[in-house]
């Protein structure tokens, strides 16, 4: 889809911002350009839509040398979202989003429809926001509109330069999650620039780690974490790389079997026997419909006759889509040995334990080492 071949940027004063960078990005992939500031990641990205002229090498899109294309036509087919957003303050939200469709000469009703569609995709009420001006929006709303505008002309490629960088941490996490969900349906080819390793691991299909204008390692997040090419990569991913790797695994990847459960009405005596026979210390409690109610530990069984009397109702649950670092953090902060997995109707799907997390991590680490 996109191929960089020995791409180089030398400024007139002799500064080499990017040196012989070559890599390929597959269709529908999200490639993160990662590295410390001044490593050339933004320069590399801007050479793709020719905002910065290339001084050496070639960039191909679908096999065509971009240097031979009309630069404005090229840019209209590449969505562009930046940290400072750059919404046009003299235009309404709707007209901002319709910028590229207008440049492409789409008929007005199609443009309008596109604007409404994209606002909805971003989780914004189009009736409320389409006529607003950028100065009436909050930071998070502006950033959503910025992404919507980048998607305006339905480009196959998207360039994003730290689009969530200037937003408060809570909104940022929410925008990242929303963005991942949107990308799952849109399947755009995305180049995403960031200096945040967590963001890179969370979003990237592949990560291109750069240092002083050179490409150090181009790999999947797991390989970058567990199979670092050299000391720089190792230091950049950090000593807690094992923990960072938990972000790569979701509950559904590791919890398969449905767990043994007890009904709240069962007698504690019988449950104790079952626990001893199976050699377990904890069981999830459900009602007749399979809805999760709480957990019961072996030590609590003596305190009453029925399970319902002695169980501890638990508010903390995860879903099949929760990433393991969130699960791990929940378990640590609430002192839980087991975390129940429920679906959206609170029906018990499984239970995850520390041991499951440990095993998953060992597997991931080894896959990195052998791969």
């Amino acid at each position: 889809m996109i191929k960089l071949d020995m791409v180089t940027k030398v400024y007139p004063d002799g500064t080499e911002a990017v040196k012989n960078v070559s890599f390929e990005i597959g269709q529908g992939e999200l490639c993160v350009l990662l590295g410390p500031s001044g490593c050339g990641k933004t320069t590399t990205m801007k050479m793709i839509n020719r905002l910065i002229p290339i001084t050496g090498g070639t960039i191909y899109i679908d096999g065509v040398d971009t240097a031979k294309m009309d630069e404005n036509a090229l840019r209209r087919d590449i969505g562009y979202a930046i940290q400072q957003i750059g919404l046009f303050p003299n235009m309404t939200v709707g007209r901002n989003i319709e910028t590229v469709p207008e440049l492409k000469g789409w008929p007005e009703n199609k443009r309008r429809q596109r604007g409404e569609e994209l606002l909805k995709l971003m989780g914004m009420d189009s009736g409320e926001f389409i006529g607003k001006y950028p100065r009436e929006l909050s930071g998070g709303q502006s950033q959503r509109v910025g992404v919507a505008r980048a998607l305006g002309g339905d480009p196959p490629i998207l360039l994003m330069d730290e689009p969530f960088g200037a937003i408060d941490p809570i909104t940022r996490v929410r925008l990242q999650d929303e963005f991942l969900k949107i990308q799952q349906t849109l399947k755009k080819t995305i180049i995403f620039v960031t200096h945040d390793i967590y963001e890179a691991i969370k979003l990237g299909d592949r990560i291109a780690l750069m240092k002083e204008g050179e490409l150090v390692q181009y790999d999947t997040p797991a390989d970058l974490l567990y199979n670092p090419k050299n000391e720089f990569v190792e230091n950049f991913v950090g000593a807690d790389r094992a923990l960072k790797g938990l972000q790569l695994i979701r509950v559904k990847d590791v919890v398969k079997a449905s767990p043994p459960t007890v009904k709240s009405g069962e007698k504690t005596e019988i449950v104790r026997e079952r626990m001893e026979r199976a050699g377990i210390n904890w069981l999830a409690v459900v009602n007749g419909d399979g809805n999760f109610l709480g957990g019961v530990g072996k030590a609590d069984l003596g305190k009453g006759d029925s399970v319902g009397d002695v169980m501890s109702p638990s508010a903390e649950t995860a879903t099949a889509n929760t990433v393991l670092n969130e699960v791990f953090s929940l378990m640590l902060s609430h002192g839980l040995d087991n975390l129940p997995i429920v679906d959206k109707d609170n029906r018990l799907q499984g239970v995850i334990s520390f041991d499951t997390i440990r095993k998953a991590l060992v597997e991931l680490t080894q896959r990195g080492k052998t791969g």
């Binding site: 839509n49 905002l51 630069e71 404005n72 036509a73 090229l74 840019r75 209209r76 562009y80 930046i82 400072q84 957003i85 750059g86 919404l87 046009f88 303050p89 003299n90 235009m91 309404t92 910028t99 590229v100 440049l103 001006y133 950028p134 100065r135 009436e136 929006l137 909050s138 998070g140 709303q141 910025g146 505008r149 980048a150 305006g152 360039l159």
Partner: protein, 244 residues
């Protein structure tokens, strides 16, 4: 609101003064012969004409020049042109007008050229500032989306700079109304003729008879241009930020 009250009171005062002086019975007073209504009307008309002509020329030169020096190709000219205009403004207006007479001769042309030179700076400087103060991220986003230079100028830069440019034109106009008082020294016309007559004959009331309508004219033109400025400003630039 308070701003309007002050402006309107001032205007009433100035116009009242003019009416009062003009309608004084000079034979009865015995010492003073005021200019007649016809003289004031003619001088005001001539004054306005000079200001409008000079201002139109200043806009025709200042706006394009100010915008031009923001373009990358002409970056090198920015400092000499903006700096030169600044120096021009720092020369006293009387000197600028006085210099014109020996060069261009006595007459309206000298007066207008001097007024153009003097009124150019606010127009030029605000055109330059209006464009160059636009957040670079906005222009970068526009380029990144595939807008041509011309489209960026027309759809983004001009609408965003327009309020600032209009302010420059308003300031320049108000200044020019005042400076035009001096045009009479090099053979121009205008209300300066009345003021100067008052100075020569040492009649304070005659001086006021020329000065008061001049000040009123500046206030009226300033007010009209402020309204035009408001009307030309995009609604998106006027909305209040309601931070969530």
């Amino acid at each position: 609101m308070r701003h309007y009250v002050i402006l309107i009171s001032l205007l009433v005062l100035l116009l009242g003064l003019t009416v009062w002086i003009t309608s004084l019975d000079w034979i009865k007073e015995g010492v003073y012969r005021p200019f007649a209504w016809g003289d004031i009307a003619n001088c005001t008309k001539a004054h306005l004409e000079m200001v409008v002509i000079a201002e139109l020329i200043a806009i025709a030169i200042g706006v394009p020049l100010g915008i031009l020096v923001t373009r990358p190709v002409f970056r090198k000219l920015t400092t000499p042109i903006i700096g030169g205009a600044n120096v021009g403004q720092s020369i006293p207006s009387l000197a600028v007008i006085a210099i014109m007479a020996p060069i261009l001769g006595f007459g309206l042309q000298s007066a207008i050229v001097a007024l153009v030179i003097y009124g150019l700076l606010p127009v030029l400087r605000n055109s330059y500032t209006g464009i160059s103060n636009i957040d670079p991220a906005i222009v970068e986003a526009a380029r990144g989306m595939g807008m041509s230079r011309r489209q960026i100028a027309r759809k983004i830069e001009l609408p965003l700079a327009l309020p600032v440019i209009m302010t420059g034109i308003r300031v320049s106009t108000v200044i020019t109304v005042g400076t035009a008082e001096l045009a009479v020294l090099v053979g121009g016309a205008g209300l300066g003729r009345i003021t100067l007559a008052g100075v020569y004959t040492m009649q304070p009331l005659t001086i006021l008879q020329g000065a008061a309508p001049t000040a009123a004219l500046a206030i009226i033109l300033g007010f009209i241009l402020a309204r035009v400025e408001g009307g030309m400003t995009s609604r998106g630039l006027k909305v209040k930020a309601e931070m969530a």
